[in-house]
């Protein structure tokens, strides 16, 4: 049987392994990804099996990781860069925004940039400063990049392979606090496309959108709502840039209500774009404004406060209530 129970972390590890077996041009780069296997062990065992030339423990410099990845991509490699934690992607920001994102356009297609930037993102693990950030909006606002977020082992397993095979640069967001979540993964199945959102629970009253770590939270909220007789339709956005809003529009036209949930600060977070687009596309169907549940507009707080900072089941239900009250 081709079905196994995998955590998200292990699914990523297997996905990476599979793609490295298939394509000798795939290289992994990052801090501590070799002998240590990465601080989350996502690359565990890969250096041993594929060698130090393909699984590269880099110097401690994120601009260096991305900048050399650009050169390697120009040489025909497919670099997969691990950023150790979300908060440490910023030294690489210049390379990502001014180089990785623009080189295909700059060269009018003569230079491809098949780079995957893996980022364990989001909070909820009781970490110190800079280890719990949700930087997706920064990338979503950057033309030339694509951004995906996985929420479960199946998407992790297939998504990482699809992302690496894809010709454009992709910021690949991994929900770090869900790394240990398990599910059945059929490694012989035909995967869903990478750039497609997915309705993960049908419902009629309110459409609730999430991605990455918040999908689980929203599903739990939907469960709780159901017990109170409210039927939530839950969409896992999966692709954040480009957005795939067709299923959302279809849903919202039906429910008339929409709540968007993410961990990132609410101001100029993905929810802002979703609200703008959904309102435009569903203007005559909306019975309430699109409501946003997100992190507060503060720096991510010390971990003793993260439970209060992060959207949880109650805050989702509160927004659902407010939506229904319109």
């Amino acid at each position: 049987m081709s079905t196994q129970t995998l955590t998200i972390g292990k699914a990523l590890n297997l996905g990476l392994r599979r793609v490295m077996e298939d394509d000798a041009k795939v290289m992994l780069m990052g801090e501590d990804i070799g002998r240590l296997g990465g601080v989350f062990r996502i690359t565990d065992g890969l250096q041993k099996d594929f060698g130090e030339d393909r699984v590269v423990d880099t110097p401690l410099a994120e601009a260096g990781i991305l900048g050399t990845a650009v050169g390697l991509a120009m040489r025909g490699y497919r670099p997969v860069c691990e950023i150790q934690f979300d908060g440490f992607v910023f030294p690489a920001y210049n390379q990502i925004v001014t180089q990785v994102a623009k080189i295909h356009a700059r060269s009018r297609g003569k230079l491809a940039m098949p780079i995957v930037i893996r980022i364990p993102f989001g909070g909820g693990i009781g970490a110190v400063e800079h280890h719990s950030e949700s930087p997706e909006a920064y990338f979503g606002h950057t033309p030339g990049l694509k951004v995906v977020a996985v929420s479960n082992p199946v998407d992790a397993y297939w998504g990482i392979q699809q992302a690496i095979a894809h010709p454009d640069p992709i910021v690949f967001l991994e929900p770090k606090r869900r790394y240990w979540d398990k599910a059945e993964v059929d490694t012989a199945a035909t995967p869903d496309p990478l750039f497609a959102s997915r309705v993960v629970r049908g419902g009629d009253d309110v459409t609730v959108l999430a991605y990455g770590p918040m999908v689980k939270t929203v599903l739990q909220a939907a469960e709780a709502a159901a017990e109170e007789g409210r039927s939530l339709e839950v969409v896992d956005l999966r692709t954040l840039s480009p957005l795939d809003l067709d299923p959302v529009v279809e849903s919202v036209r039906r429910t008339g209500r929409c709540v968007m949930v993410h961990e990132a600060p609410v101001t100029l977070g993905l929810g802002a774009e979703i609200a703008a687009r959904i309102t435009e596309e569903c203007f005559h169907s909306l019975e309430a404004p699109v409501l946003r549940v997100g992190g507060y507009d503060t720096p991510y707080p010390p971990s003793k406060l993260e439970e209060e900072y992060l959207p949880d089941l109650d805050r989702v239900l509160d927004a659902v209530d407010r939506s229904l009250e319109y």
């Binding site: 002998r35 240590l36 110097p59 401690l60 030294p91 110190v128 101001t267 503060t298 010390p302 209060e308």
Partner: protein, 378 residues
């Protein structure tokens, strides 16, 4: 006493492909691993018995603090702990070289320096417990808050030193960094700026041989202290497990900085005897034998040996320090477990010096929302 590195033409560094690199000079050392006092042509130090005993006390208390914090983490009282085990001499030596008006910019591991600046251990622990991002007053202590983003503090230290310079103040700035940090662009920029402006800043690099799992060789194929020459200022390598040598070398560099002679780079050659943090498993990337070797160079044992042998301290003294350490451990344990959680509003109230109406409104919503649970459960 001069802060300098002699450069001589010698054989190439193996594999470096660079035929004529400056020789790696011996470490500056004033106290051998066996506890023998030795002299160095460039660095003298003259401490009285009391001062020597105090250094020992610092080392022991700092280690005990560290051990206690590690234990507290294991027991779930801290989210994580970054141990300084093995680096006590580097940190205490550097910290004790500072004058009151000087300012230190630590990474996240300089508990030993914090100690020398009079920072309450509980104010450091509160960060690792997740209560705040460090509870001490960076201005009053002359000890900046911890910086988690590798290397970012080196630029802050340099800018601060440019301010010191503009103020005509005869104080100096001590920037801490790790061996891994030397690869960050910002760290190199800090050295470039410090050189260009001849800023009174000393870069104190604890080369503890690893950046998490990555050995030094990945960051540099030549000794780190040589980096400085490329930027036009002196670099020096000191035995980081020798508190006397670290003190002497750091003092000399700080004196030079206060004196308008600009920056120095100090590589304190040491070893991280514990894990990177309590989340780390060093058995995955280094051999036990390596640790055993470094144990022979323990930074505390050699001071104790010297104090005993020279008659500078007796068993009563050692016992008293031990007792003080026990008390400290108790205080840390109690202080940690009794530490209150911050109120939820702490998220909002210091984001800005001048609060925005938007955030104030968010805070009000948050408070109302929190209160609604209170009502519900009443």
């Amino acid at each position: 006493m001069s802060v300098s590195s002699a450069t001589e033409v010698v054989d190439p560094v193996p594999g470096a492909g660079a035929p004529h690199l400056p020789r790696q000079p011996d470490l500056v050392q004033l106290l051998t691993p066996e506890g023998e006092r030795v002299e160095h042509p460039d660095y003298a130090i003259d401490l009285d018995d009391q001062q020597l005993r105090e250094l020992y006390r610092d080392l022991v208390l700092v280690r005990r603090w560290d051990v206690e914090a590690t234990a507290l983490q294991r027991q779930g009282e801290l989210g994580i702990w970054a141990s300084l085990l093995g680096q006590e001499a580097a940190q205490v030596g550097a910290g004790r070289a500072l004058q009151p008006g000087d300012t230190a910019f630590p990474t996240y591991r300089e508990h030993g320096v914090a100690w020398t600046r009079g920072v309450d251990p509980l104010h450091v622990i509160s960060l690792f417990r997740g209560v705040d991002n460090g509870g001490w007053d960076p201005v009053a202590t002359g000890f900046n808050l911890y910086t988690v983003v590798i290397g970012a503090q080196c630029l802050h230290a340099t800018g601060y030193a440019m301010g010191v310079q503009r103020d005509g103040s005869e104080t100096a700035v001590l920037a801490f960094l790790g061996d891994g940090a030397t690869s960050q662009g910002e760290v190199n920029e800090a050295m470039i700026w410090a050189a260009s402006f001849s800023a009174p800043v000393v870069f104190f690099c604890q080369n503890n041989q690893y950046a998490i799992s990555v050995p030094l060789e990945r960051q540099s194929r030549v000794p780190l202290y040589q980096r400085a020459a490329g930027f036009g200022f002196p670099g020096v390598r000191v035995d980081g497990n020798d508190v006397l040598a670290v003190l002497a070398v750091t003092r000399a560099a700080l004196v030079a900085a206060r004196d308008g002679q600009g920056p120095t780079f100090i590589e304190a050659f040491t070893y991280r005897m514990g894990a990177h943090t309590t989340s780390d498993d060093p058995t995955r990337y280094r051999l036990a034998s390596e640790l055993e070797e470094w144990k022979l160079r323990d930074p505390i044992a050699r001071v104790k040996a010297y104090l005993s042998r020279s008659g500078t301290a007796d068993q009563d003294f050692f016992d008293a320090v031990e007792a003080e350490a026990d008390e400290l451990a108790v205080r840390i344990r109690r202080g940690t477990t009794e530490m209150p959680d911050p109120p939820g509003t702490a998220m909002f109230d210091q984001v800005y010096a001048e609060q925005t109406p938007h955030l104030a409104a968010q805070q009000a919503q948050f408070e109302a929302y929190q209160a609604s649970f209170g009502e519900a459960s009443e």
